[in-house]
């Protein structure tokens, strides 16, 4: 048996999906968990423990892989972050969105390859930190393929990705002139009343959401993110309807960039790759004087100058630092940060140390290196309220990264990439996205935004998604042919599922020993380990399922455990 175990381990290491680093015997991890027996790497002078590196990878990437953990342990967090900042952005290739510029493509013929591209990046791109930050920003700075062509949303992803680690002021300018955003929140149609358009009046949609959702929020905030209140306890509002009216006037007069003469009439009517440009037709622009939040916008300013002044106004507002700090912290680290943590990150937003405000590299680094983010690196120091519920996208992509997949496997019943159906990326119902930063869990009233997505539908998908790849076939559900086709789909996506099956064939314990370091930071709860061993025996004895089916069910079951359902 011992020989078999070693062979299985060699097979897994040889597959180079996961090194044998980490606590593969699943001892409860400690700050010194690098000292597991039988590892080539044990003598290395690591800067952080296996557990700490895996935990950091859950905050700063789309999930741990052996390579990433090794890199983090070798370099330490600060150096890794600095190096990530220097990695060029990995972007989706719009040419892969087959025929998206045709007049009437099938929606899924565009959406499927865009999702395949996005998941390729999330699974394999070297700029993992930027990928994770872009995904975070995209969840509160929203355009959605429920209104836009999916191809245009794919291009939006690239544009947001370019801006994600730049300056937040530039980001505000960039999204305000972005063609997809111009369409999604109607600012491209924002026109004043004029003789030429007697029924026009400023379109307030973008003006309102720019303040409410992208920069300030509806209540005045203290530097630590707490609400400023009146004497009677009611929150002080950030702006009035009058400010919305006036800001809408400021933002009038933008139009899609012109397309080259002779360009075909196609789905790219918004010229999505290019920012909007100022309209040169005077009636489309309100060039009068305006006042927003007490700041005067003199008459006769250009669209660009007015927008630059908007950026200065928003960047100078006391709300924006705690507003951005809370959101980045919630998406990367924890749902309910202490006021002091928000204030520390907010201070970095205000001044990166060189007098620059809005430096997102500095903000992200401050979020990830804050003592409150790192407190749980040693499990003994994890506070009761640390972490958050794992959102569906991170559950699915984390699972696939743990399998070593290079692409999202294709679902046999839909011919689509396997995506989180109940957090459909870049496709939320409205600009209010999947959840709000203030969402409390019902009945228990714990600040837990991602909990909103933990419905019966989501749990059911987690329970069937992977195993149906393996057993689903229109003609022969659960047959040997169906299973072989499913295994081929996983191989086609580059997933290392066969290595898990090999481990299981060596012994169920060998498989469980793999799952611990891959998905549980080398610290799989002992009770889960017992459950998996019991299930393995029960299934083998009761059902006589094929090995592959048992493996996929053990993996699925392990990831249903609260130790994976929450990111602590």
């Amino acid at each position: 048996v011992a020989r078999l175990l070693i062979r299985a381990a060699l097979l897994v290491c040889g597959a180079a999906l996961f090194g044998c680093g980490g606590d593969s015997n699943n001892r409860s991890a400690t700050a010194n968990s690098s000292s597991s027996s039988g590892q080539v790497a044990a003598s290395k002078n690591y800067k952080v423990s296996y557990h700490a590196a895996a935990r950091f990878a859950e905050q700063a990437s789309f999930g741990p892989t052996a390579t990433l953990i090794e890199e983090l342990r070798t370099k330490g967090f600060a150096q890794w972050i600095d190096e990530q900042f220097a990695v060029p952005p990995s972007k989706v290739d719009p040419d892969k969105f087959a025929q998206w510029q045709l007049q009437q493509p099938n929606w899924f013929d565009v959406w499927n390859p865009w999702m395949a591209e996005l998941h390729r990046l999330w699974l394999t791109a070297p700029d993992q930190l930027r990928q994770r930050v872009t995904w975070s920003l995209s969840q509160y700075i929203v355009v959605s393929s429920q209104r836009l062509d999916p191809g245009a949303v794919g291009i939006w992803f690239n544009q947001l990705h370019d801006m994600a680690l730049g300056n937040y002021g530039d980001l505000i300018y960039g999204i305000s002139t972005n063609a997809a955003m111009g369409f999604y929140l109607d600012n491209v149609q924002n026109r004043p009343k004029s003789a030429e358009c007697p029924h026009c009046a400023p379109n307030e949609n973008y003006a309102r959401e720019l303040m409410q959702l992208f920069t300030l929020g509806v209540v005045k905030l203290n530097a630590d993110g707490s609400t400023v209140r009146q004497a009677n306890g009611r929150p002080v509002e950030t702006y009035t309807q009058r400010d919305v009216d006036e800001l809408a006037r400021v933002l009038t007069g933008w139009t899609y960039a012109p397309k080259p003469p002779g360009a075909p009439v196609d789905r790219n009517w918004g010229n999505w790759e290019r920012p909007m440009v100022p309209s040169t037709w005077a009636p489309e622009r309100d060039s009068g004087a305006k006042t927003v939040l007490g700041r005067a916008f003199p008459a006769g300013q250009s669209q660009q100058k007015d927008l630059q002044d908007v950026v200065a106004l928003l960047m100078g507002h006391p709300n924006i630092a705690p507003f951005v700090a809370l959101r980045v912290i919630q998406h990367l680290v924890k749902s309910n940060p202490s006021p002091a943590y928000i204030a520390r990150v907010g201070a970095v937003f205000r001044d990166n140390g060189s007098g620059v405000a809005g430096d997102m590299k500095a903000v992200v680094k401050a979020v990830l290196l804050d003592p409150e983010a790192r407190a749980g690196d040693d499990p003994a120091t994890l506070a009761k309220g640390d972490g958050k519920v794992r959102e569906p996208v991170l559950h699915l992509v984390g699972m696939l990264r743990g399998l070593g997949c290079q692409r999202a496997p294709v679902e046999p019943w839909s011919s689509r990439p396997m995506v989180a159906g109940y957090q459909n990326p870049f496709n939320p119902n409205s600009v209010f996205s999947f959840y709000a930063p203030t969402d409390l869990s019902p009945g228990r009233n714990v600040l837990a935004p991602e909990q909103k997505l933990l419905t019966a539908s989501e749990f059911r998908q987690r329970l069937w998604h992977l195993q149906y790849l393996l057993i689903y076939d229109w003609q022969n559900v659960g047959s040997a042919q169906a299973r072989e086709a499913g295994l081929q789909r996983l191989r086609d996506a580059g997933c290392g599922f066969d290595a898990m099956v090999a481990a299981y064939r060596a012994s169920p314990r060998a498989l469980i020993d793999l799952l611990g370091p891959r998905y549980f930071r080398g610290a799989m709860p002992a009770s889960l380990r017992v459950e998996l061993e019991k299930l393995s025996t029960a299934w083998k004895n009761t059902y006589g399922w094929a090995d592959e089916e048992i493996v996929v069910k053990l993996l699925t079951m392990a990831l249903m455990h609260p130790a994976y359902g929450a990111v602590l």
Binding site: D186, Q189, N190, R191, P192, C197, H199, C200, A201, P202, N203, E204, N205, R208, Q212, V218, P235, E237, Q241, S335, L382, K384, G385, D386, K388, V389, R390, N429, S430, F432, F434, D439, L440, S441, P442, G443, R444, V446, A448, K452, L454, T455, A456, S457, F459, R460, L463, W464, E531, K534, L535, A538, W539, T542, K553, T556, P562, G565, A566, L568
Partner: protein
């Protein structure tokens, strides 16, 4: 009396599988043909997300049409296209948006009522008071998320519960049952209790097959393992949040699946939209729930993209014109199915939305966020065939316009709380509990409106 917790504890036992059989139900006091089956009432709140333009849903056809046409300009519906409603009410004759044609006969039969210029208020307020900042008004007017929270909940931001959830919590014990408060989407404010979570109902599919496990075989090794995961207490807040979400999803789904296995598909036409699909699912389940002895339920059904800042008119899929077609088909289908199943007097529906929209159009052929709005209520016990309340003036800067900039933002003349209190009282909420469920009602002399019969 079965408290939700006891009920679920019973379901959590080793005999959970027997819940799917009549014997298990009987043991819980819920069973097909149970003696107490019969006294059933359900409130279905259809919430049109984004802010449905009530001005283009219910339109006066008398002399006021000219004011409407002048004020709404390019948004105005041609008079000849409107579907006439029988009789007159609130001092006017009315017509419906042509897409709402299936609702006109229901109005004529006295099953459907409109509620004019309703919306959130802290206390009674006139437009003049609002323009002069001389009266307390709800916070964050114009903000989607906050107005939804206020309309479904109340005016204090830090309390995320809703009046449906709070009302269900305060019903007499004899009217309590599992699945009392239910949402059919991720959004849930209306049905969120102060200390209890709503159930979630997937409107598209509620199979017993969950892949790894079957809800009708909760004794299997995998089902038992999942239940051990979900019922354990963990030392970490978010592990517990996850576990309890998993547990309630299993418990609630077990009950829904059990009902679905005995449900008959209604023959009514619900249309082909997602809303129609969900309303069909709901219509198929309610007769079974009634027969099993459930007593009181509130359902939240949110649907739509009604934030029509631009392109409000026309045939494209996200115009108001196009979406109202789906609303009318789903609502009329639901009503027909309820009547066919003998639940016509047991179920009431309320249609509401984030807020109304400005009277004046905006550039791009749309309208902006406003305040008061026109809603409808439907059901056999609704005082239908009329328009409740006071119909507002279209004059920009006129007697109903609370906007100092005269964009036509109507100050409501019926409070959301008055409508909610009326419906919760219909469900059986004692008058003594009204202020606990609707705290701002303390500021109103009139607590309810004459929307329901008896």
């Amino acid at each position: 009396v079965i408290r939700r917790r006891d009920f679920l504890r019973a379901g959590a036992g080793a005999t959970a599988a027997s819940l799917l059989g009549g014997a298990g139900l009987a043991a819980l006091g819920l069973a097909p043909g149970a003696a107490r089956a019969g006294d059933y009432r359900a409130l279905v709140v259809l919430f049109l997300t984004g802010g449905n333009d009530g001005h283009n849903s219910l339109v006066p056809t008398d002399a006021a049409y000219n004011d409407y046409q002048a004020a709404r300009a390019n948004l105005a519906l041609p008079k000849a296209s409107l579907i006439s409603l029988s009789g007159s009410a609130a001092g006017h004759t009315f017509g419906l948006h042509p897409a709402l044609a299936p609702l006109a006969p229901l109005y004529g039969q006295g099953r459907l009522a409109w509620i004019a210029n309703a919306g959130p208020l802290v206390r009674p307020a006139t437009a003049e008071q609002v323009r002069n900042s001389a009266v307390d008004v709800p916070a964050f007017l114009g903000s989607h998320s906050d107005q939804v929270a206020i309309q479904q909940g109340w005016t204090v931001q830090d309390d995320q519960s809703g009046w449906g959830g709070r009302g269900i919590e305060r019903l007499p014990d004899s009217l309590r049952n599992p699945l009392g408060a239910v949402t059919m989407s991720n959004n849930r404010t209306l049905v969120q209790g102060r200390s209890s979570a709503p159930a979630f109902l997937d409107g598209f599919t509620i199979p017993a097959d969950w892949g790894m496990l079957r809800l009708d075989n909760m004794a299997s090794a995998e089902s038992q393992a999942i239940q051990r995961f979900s019922r354990k207490q963990y030392g970490q807040t978010y592990a517990n949040e996850y576990a309890r979400s998993l547990q309630s999803s299993l418990d609630d789904s077990l009950l829904f699946t059990q009902a679905a296995q005995r449900a008959k598909q209604p023959t009514a036409d619900f249309g082909s939209s997602d809303l129609g699909t969900r309303m069909r699912m709901l219509a198929s389940l309610l007769p079974v729930l009634k027969a099993d002895g459930y007593r009181r339920q509130v359902f939240l059904v949110e649907w739509g993209a009604f934030d029509t800042h631009a392109n409000q008119r026309g045939s494209a899929s996200e115009t108001q014109d196009a979406q109202l077609v789906h609303v009318a088909q789903a609502v009329a289908g639901f009503d027909e199915a309820m009547r066919a199943a003998g639940l016509g007097d047991d179920v009431a529906m309320l249609m509401m939305s984030d807020f109304g929209r400005t009277v004046r159009p905006g550039s791009g052929g749309g309208s902006e966020h406003a305040w008061g709005n026109h809603w409808f209520a439907l059901g056999g016990t609704v005082q239908g065939g009329t328009v409740h309340g006071t119909f507002p003036s279209y004059a920009l800067g006129g007697p109903d316009d609370g906007d100092p900039a005269s964009n036509g933002r109507h100050v409501p003349t019926i409070a959301t709380d008055q409508v909610g209190a009326t419906l919760m009282q219909w469900l059986g909420l004692p008058a003594s509990e009204l202020h606990a469920v609707f705290p701002d009602l303390a500021n109103f002399g009139q607590k309810t409106i004459p929307l329901m019969r008896g």
